[in-house]
């Protein structure tokens, strides 16, 4: 139960039982091929939720998407925390560990949200050093995600240059979040196709897709609280021919609908991927 491929679904407590029950879904196009979870939400957890974790692990391959690494923080890396992550990944035979290209801890305080790293050369070097440190400890690739952001912070280079430099020079892999590209292109008024073309696409090892909330004429918030919108499906469809065949994860964190609606979204993603990637078609 460890090979991650196809289309996955985020494993959340609100839908834990329904997600576990999907292991019995007979129609492969309506069934997630894997689940993704945040290790921080499950490490050390005993009792009822530990049972749920064991049940999902017995039925689906798992990928891990971290929250608290804070790879871009001015603060020191938290080594004991990384060691906990490592033993969790080992325990559940998890082969993909991704994190956000952002910071969530500063001045010794966790903020539990993702703040934008300044797009500067020194930040690039800082993050590269830390990614290497993380990869040395974990003895695996770190997969780094392009995050959505609402303001750039003291930028000196472009966002795509920032990401590309970090990924190519650190030797890490990239998580391409299609919705985040769409959200950022809208919020910062750039062309999403040019942006994707400037990314290190050969290093993409994993993808995210999600819905968002448009809260004003010029601002979208990346809530993961709505269904995926058509333009984001279109952007996925446009991107896939440029990418290696990688797992894709449907993120839904808030305002979670019934499982049938999520399954319809999984189906729609699978239909798009099967147009470009044969193996997923076979798998589905």
């Amino acid at each position: 139960m460890n090979k991650i491929r196809g289309v996955g679904l985020g494993f959340r407590r609100d839908i834990a039982d329904e997600t576990i029950a999907l292991s019995k879904e007979s129609n492969p196009i309506l069934k997630p091929d894997f689940v993704e979870l945040a290790p921080e939400n499950w490490i050390d957890m005993g009792g009822y939720w530990r049972d749920k974790l064991e049940q999902i692990a017995a039925n689906f391959p798992i990928s891990a998407h971290g929250l608290s690494l804070s790879i871009g923080s001015p603060d020191e890396l938290d080594i004991p925390f990384l060691k906990k992550i490592k033993s969790f990944l080992n325990e559940f035979n998890i082969q993909i560990y991704s994190e956000h290209l952002s910071y969530s801890k500063c001045d010794n305080a966790h903020l539990y949200d993702l703040l934008p790293i300044p797009f500067t050369e020194d930040a690039v070097n800082h993050v590269i050093e830390r990614i290497k440190q993380v990869q040395d400890i974990l003895e695996m690739h770190l997969v780094i995600e392009n995050v959505s952001y609402y303001t750039p912070l003291a930028p000196k280079i472009s966002e795509s240059e920032f990401i590309k430099e970090i990924v190519t020079r650190s030797g890490c892999k990239m998580l391409l979040d299609i919705n985040n590209v769409y959200v950022n292109a809208f919020n910062h008024n750039y062309n999403e196709h040019n942006f994707i073309d400037n990314l290190p696409l050969n290093e993409v090892a994993y993808m995210h897709i999600a819905g968002h909330d448009k809260i004003s004429d010029d601002l979208i918030i990346d809530t993961h609280g709505q269904p995926i919108i058509e333009p984001v499906y279109d952007l996925l469809n446009w991107s896939l021919p440029k990418l290696p065949e990688v797992p894709i994860l449907l993120e839904r964190d808030f305002n979670i609908p019934n499982m049938e609606s999520l399954q319809k979204e999984i189906q729609q993603i699978k239909e798009i991927t099967s147009k470009h990637w044969n193996k997923i078609k076979v798998n589905a």
């Binding site: 009822y48 305080a109 703040l115 300044p118 020194d122």
Partner: protein, 247 residues
């Protein structure tokens, strides 16, 4: 190495999300940064509101959210795992200078009481020995490891809020997790029950009899047959509830 201008910009944005003070935060779109402050506080208020529903109800939304704001502004959250973060609110309120503690003397105890339910519900699993029914006090025993013993001064577990400050006393309570259902239960205890369970936890012989003798002699109570019989009956009760077993 990060340049000072880079780390300073990061610190100013982080500080702004906590305090609302954007002084010196120049290289950012200032009309957008309130989104970060809103998002950060949504997480904090949600997590604390879910962890402390009784506190939230008693303080009312306004005071509770003010508490959340002051906590997050003044306290550096240490936990990498956000579900463990609510415990830090207890330390914050327990600070001797806390205005919240002065205004609401029950608050540290209420927060602890609510937190322990989460702490015990989520306690990391450990390997358990084979467990048996209790028949006699001559048996070696095992205490359900997922538990906490506390003595409350306010009767917040069994009296309405209005009577908490007028009924100060000593209320020993056991909070434990059922080994099978994983549900958390509260058990009111007598002082003797509390001392006996405390002794059971710490007694290295792991024999009921010596634990009973220790507890009783610490209280200068003579050990009679009637005493032993009633203790055994009580142990069988605890056994049925899944708190103490023989091994």
């Amino acid at each position: 190495m990060l340049k000072e201008t880079t780390s300073l910009a990061q610190q100013k944005l982080a500080n702004y999300t906590r305090t609302g003070d954007s002084t010196g935060l120049t290289e950012a779109r200032l009309e957008r940064i309130p989104q970060y402050r809103r998002l950060v506080y949504n997480v904090i208020k949600d997590i604390l509101g879910q962890a402390f529903p009784i506190t939230k109800k008693i303080l009312g939304n306004e005071d509770f959210f003010n508490l959340c704001n002051d906590f997050f502004k003044e306290h550096n959250c240490k936990n990498t795992q956000v579900w463990k973060m609510p415990k830090e609110l207890i330390d914050y309120v327990n600070d001797e200078n806390s205005a919240y503690k002065l205004a609401h003397t029950f608050l540290p105890e209420l927060l602890l009481f609510e937190w322990l339910e989460i702490e015990i519900h989520t306690m990391t699993n450990i390997e358990l020995p084979k467990l048996y029914k209790i028949d006699s006090i001559a048996q070696p025993y095992f205490v359900n490891p997922y538990h906490k013993l506390i003595v409350l001064q306010h009767p917040l577990h069994n009296k309405p809020f209005k009577q908490w400050n007028t009924n100060l006393g000593q209320y020993p309570i056991l909070i434990y997790r059922n080994l099978r259902t994983h549900k958390v239960h509260f058990e009111e205890l007598s002082i003797f029950g509390y001392l006996f369970l405390s002794e059971l936890q710490s007694n290295s012989t792991r024999l009921f009899e010596s634990t009973l003798v220790n507890t009783l002699s610490a209280q200068n109570v003579a050990i009679t047959d009637a005493q032993i019989l009633s203790s055994l009956a009580w142990l069988k009760e605890l056994n049925k509830k899944g708190i103490v077993f023989s091994v």
